[in-house]
């Protein structure tokens, strides 16, 4: 297991979201779950907590998370991830799904 926490600069999230939290994905082989919540600090950064079963890929994680924070206004969110070996492209997809559910609802 490898665990780390880091904040990434990101434009502030809108004042209103469809839900206070959203979850995407499932903890299964090659998959991960992403929980996105309002209330992360500060408001101009995306606060990330990652736990992964595959150690040694911190650089890839930081790149994937920084890329997401750069492209989406996710400042003031708290992102918590439980990972079981998902590839970076899936990490990006789940982040987008969770963010979409948070801002627009489940539909």
């Amino acid at each position: 297991m490898e665990k780390f926490t880091k904040s990434f600069p990101s434009k502030p999230l809108g004042a209103k979201t469809a839900k206070p939290w959203a979850l995407a994905g499932v903890v299964g082989s090659g998959n991960l779950e992403v929980l996105v919540e309002r209330g992360g600090k500060p408001s101009d950064a995306m606060e990330c907590h990652v736990e992964t079963s595959i150690p040694g890929y911190k650089a890839s994680w930081l790149a994937a998370l920084a890329d997401f924070a750069h492209h989406y206004p996710a400042g003031g969110t708290k992102v918590t991830i439980n990972d079981q070996g998902a590839p970076p492209v899936l990490v990006n997809l789940r982040l987008r799904q969770a963010y979409d559910h948070l801002t627009k609802g489940d539909k």
Partner: protein
């Protein structure tokens, strides 16, 4: 939301959303509570925010129910301490509030990493289920995936008033691979899908009376199946237990020495095995007279 997607292809959360009346589901102990398994964390295995079980209350056709769905992709939907405590609590709440409880099952049984806690939790959940049944509060299990209901969860599912299955669902105690390991490949070939489904699958379980309804593999069909049982309950009494025991003795006598599952289907009234193999849900049920 689900469109043409089959029920067995949905995730636990999607299943709940597809079964409950729109917007009626309120999750209890949701992911932000972070009630995760302390045992898996110690063993260096990834944890999940809901510990593989989504629980809450909802409405189906306007009727209030308690609703739970297991996450089969997370350690095989297996029951650990947190998962089990949520399961027990939900059935206890159902008994307390006299509200029907529906469990969408997808579990191989107890989670071996936290075996004792899981076993105890399953026993406590069974007690809570019988509490519901004594109060005539309906308890319904839905078994609709190939992970199915095995081990302690297989037993637990048969403690509920009613079981709704699809042809994808499987129900048993020991799973096919376990049987093969103990009895040998000649006795039971776990790679033979036709054999496995004809012994533990929804169609056979429906024929034998272990499943109370066989429905199509869609959320709509499963929801209709649940609705039919919401106002009903099946009493537990010494007489009912004894007569069930007699039925099982008869079944063992009749099929105990049979090695061909088709022979079981035939003697349960299935005339055309091939047509029945291809038929699904109620169409299958129409091709056979059911023995219970």
């Amino acid at each position: 939301m689900t469109g043409a997607i089959l029920f067995h292809e949905l995730t636990a959360r999607q299943r709940i959303a597809a079964l409950a009346d729109a917007g009626s589901f309120t999750e209890l102990l949701p992911p932000p509570e972070r009630l995760t398994s302390p045992y898996l964390a110690q063993l260096g295995i990834p944890v999940s925010f809901d510990d593989g079980l989504v629980i809450g209350h909802a409405r189906i056709g306007g009727k209030k129910i308690y609703l739970a769905a297991q996450v089969g992709q997370f350690v095989g939907g297996a029951v650990g301490e947190i998962h089990g405590a949520k399961l027990t609590g939900l059935f206890k709440a159902a008994a307390r509030d006299k509200v029907p409880c529906v469990l969408v099952i997808e579990s191989g049984g107890v989670r071996l990493h936290e075996g004792s806690s899981g076993e105890i939790a399953i026993a406590e959940t069974m007690r809570a289920i019988f509490e519901c049944r004594a109060l005539k509060v309906p308890t319904i299990a839905v078994i609709a995936t190939d992970i199915g209901a095995f081990g302690g969860i297989g037993i637990l599912s048969t403690c509920c008033d009613f079981r709704i299955m699809t042809e994808h669902g499987r129900l048993g105690i020991s799973g096919p691979i376990v049987i093969e390991k103990w009895m040998g490949k000649k006795a039971y070939d776990s790679a033979n899908r036709a054999l496995v489904w004809k012994t533990s699958g929804g169609k056979t379980k429906y024929l034998l009376g272990d499943a109370d309804a066989l429905v199509h593999d869609t959320a709509d069909a499963v929801r209709d199946g649940i609705s039919k049982f919401l106002g009903k309950s099946s009493a537990v009494s010494l007489t009912s237990v004894k007569s069930r025991q007699k039925e099982l003795e008869k079944r063992l006598k009749k099929f105990g020495a049979t090695s061909d599952p088709n022979a079981v289907w035939k003697s349960m009234g299935v005339r055309d095995i091939e047509a029945a193999s291809l038929a699904s849900g109620p169409e299958f049920a129409a091709l056979a007279k059911r023995g219970k």
